[in-house]
């Protein structure tokens, strides 16, 4: 719980966190275990203490499309399913053995009642999430494979060591061969990330 408590400590006091702890569940899951199945309703958000989760969809041809990676200190969920209580289009599973904190909307409601600071913190987190999603849509529509990849390694600098190449390619919406070409070209240019 230590990392999650740190994450909350900017907006909630120690005693407020203690009052809310009954809404939190710590869980350890093994690599490959599934937290959310497409077609079912998502009732929780997952904060990663240690390990790596991802969300993805599977298309009609059976191909996986990675939506998001969640390494340490990230939260992953399906907000549309969570907030509108509709069946999810997504899966969430563990890319590595993971320790996570599960919380539901009751936690968010209670924390918001307790603390105005948490309300604004949560609002900001939601707005940040929307900003991230809009930029991601725009990049998938308009950016080159190289631009998408450079943005990816800025957002997730260490994940390239933790996931197979095809998963990165899937996140970027390109083929593994294109990802190889992008890296080859960056190495050829002796690219130095800013």
């Amino acid at each position: 719980m230590e990392e999650f408590y740190n994450y909350l400590s900017d907006s909630l006091s120690k005693s407020e966190i203690d009052q809310l702890s009954k809404f939190l569940v710590e869980k350890r899951i093994g690599k490959g275990e599934i937290l959310l199945q497409a077609g079912s309703v998502c009732n929780h958000s997952f904060f990663v203490e240690e390990g790596l989760l991802r969300s993805f969809s599977i298309d009609k041809q059976g191909k996986e499309h990675v939506i998001q990676f969640a390494p340490e200190n990230w939260i992953i969920s399906d907000r549309s399913s969570l907030l509108f209580q509709e069946p999810s289009e997504f899966f969430i599973d563990a890319v590595e053995n993971t320790t996570l904190i599960m919380f539901d909307e009751e936690f968010v409601v209670k924390a918001s009642e307790l603390s105005a600071k948490y309300r604004s913190f949560n609002q900001k987190a939601l707005n940040n999430h929307i900003r991230h999603q809009q930029r991601r849509i725009n990049r998938l529509l308009s950016a080159t494979a190289e631009e998408r990849y450079l943005n990816f390694i800025q957002l997730y600098p260490n994940i390239t060591l933790r996931v197979p190449q095809w998963m990165i390619a899937s996140y970027l919406g390109i083929t593994p061969e294109s990802l190889s070409r992008v890296r080859k070209e960056l190495a050829r240019k002796n690219f130095i990330p800013g």
């Binding site: 390694i153 390239t160 060591l161 933790r162 190449q165 890296r183 190495a187």
Partner: protein
């Protein structure tokens, strides 16, 4: 010359999977007594004790991953591993063979059970070691030594005691097959019941014996069972290993590299900055290319 005594006998930790093809007991560095510094230049040791893998059409293993700053040494006892790397090297490591890959400035590689072995299934048994490189060699060119049975000389011990295959260093005047950056001994021994092998290494060399099969007595002390790791003290030069029943051992000894270690995942360097550089270089394709 004085006796090198046992410091600790370390039992195997619970096995975990590396990828889906290697079920290993890690000794170095996760055992309490076996930090990278304590066992330098041996900075990682995974032991896949004999494990049966059922037949499959999809070979099990570990996908593409990078290394920088050290060497990986794979010793095959049972089963076969196919290997490919970004320098264009590939091959199959068969029982009795050793792959000595110098990652140095950076390499991508992947390791899978060999196709036919996967299809037929069978027992699998391997050791993988990481051997550190001194700072001056960490950014040298990657290289690859595939050591076959005919490359590895065998010393026949007197009194029908057994045999020693000299992978690196030397034993009773027979030179090892591998070329190494710092002084290293790596000896693959087979002892018959009651057979005794004598070993002599400089006292400051970090030294250990892994019991691969059967049971042994070191310096005529208590019996050490299979899968246990015998850490030798740095107090002397000589020790003996006796087979209790037929036994197989792996003896490792090396001159410590007394330099700072900064390690993260597949990179082992001297400073944090060099680790960050390795991640950045990997991300921008400087380790070369290899398909999953």
């Amino acid at each position: 010359m004085s006796t090198k005594n046992i410091e600790f006998v370390i039992p195997p930790r619970p096995a975990h999977f590396v990828g889906d093809g290697f079920k290993v007991h890690n000794f170095i560095p996760s055992s309490h007594y076996l930090s990278m510094q304590r066992m330098s230049p041996f900075i990682m040791m995974d032991y896949n004790a004999p494990t049966y893998f059922p037949p499959t059409n999809t070979p099990r293993g570990v996908g593409v991953h990078p290394h920088r700053g050290f060497e990986t040494v794979t010793i095959a006892y049972k089963g076969k591993v196919a290997h490919h790397d970004s320098s264009g090297n590939s091959g199959i490591i068969e029982p009795g063979e050793v792959q000595w890959m110098t990652a140095a400035s950076g390499i991508l590689h992947k390791e899978y059970h060999e196709k036919k072995f996967s299809e037929e299934g069978g027992d699998f048994q391997m050791v993988q070691l990481w051997v550190n490189l001194p700072a001056k060699d960490k950014m040298s060119q990657p290289k690859y030594q595939g050591l076959t049975k005919s490359d590895i000389q065998t010393v026949i011990l007197p009194n029908n005691a057994g045999t020693i295959n000299v992978i690196a260093g030397d034993y009773l005047g027979t030179k090892g097959a591998a070329s190494t950056f710092t002084p290293i001994y790596l000896l693959d021994g087979k002892l018959n019941d009651g057979g005794i092998a004598n070993f002599t290494f400089p006292s400051n060399y970090n030294t250990a014996v892994l019991v691969i099969e059967g049971e042994v007595k070191v310096n005529n002390s208590e019996v050490t069972p299979t899968d246990h790791f015998i850490l030798m003290n740095n107090d002397g030069e000589n020790f003996t290993v006796e087979g209790i029943g037929n036994a197989k051992i792996l003896v490792l000894s090396g001159e410590p590299i007394n330099e700072p270690i900064a390690a993260q995942g597949p990179f082992v360097m001297n400073t944090r900055e060099e680790i960050m550089q390795a991640i950045q270089d990997y991300n921008i394709g400087k380790f070369g290319f290899l398909e999953d």
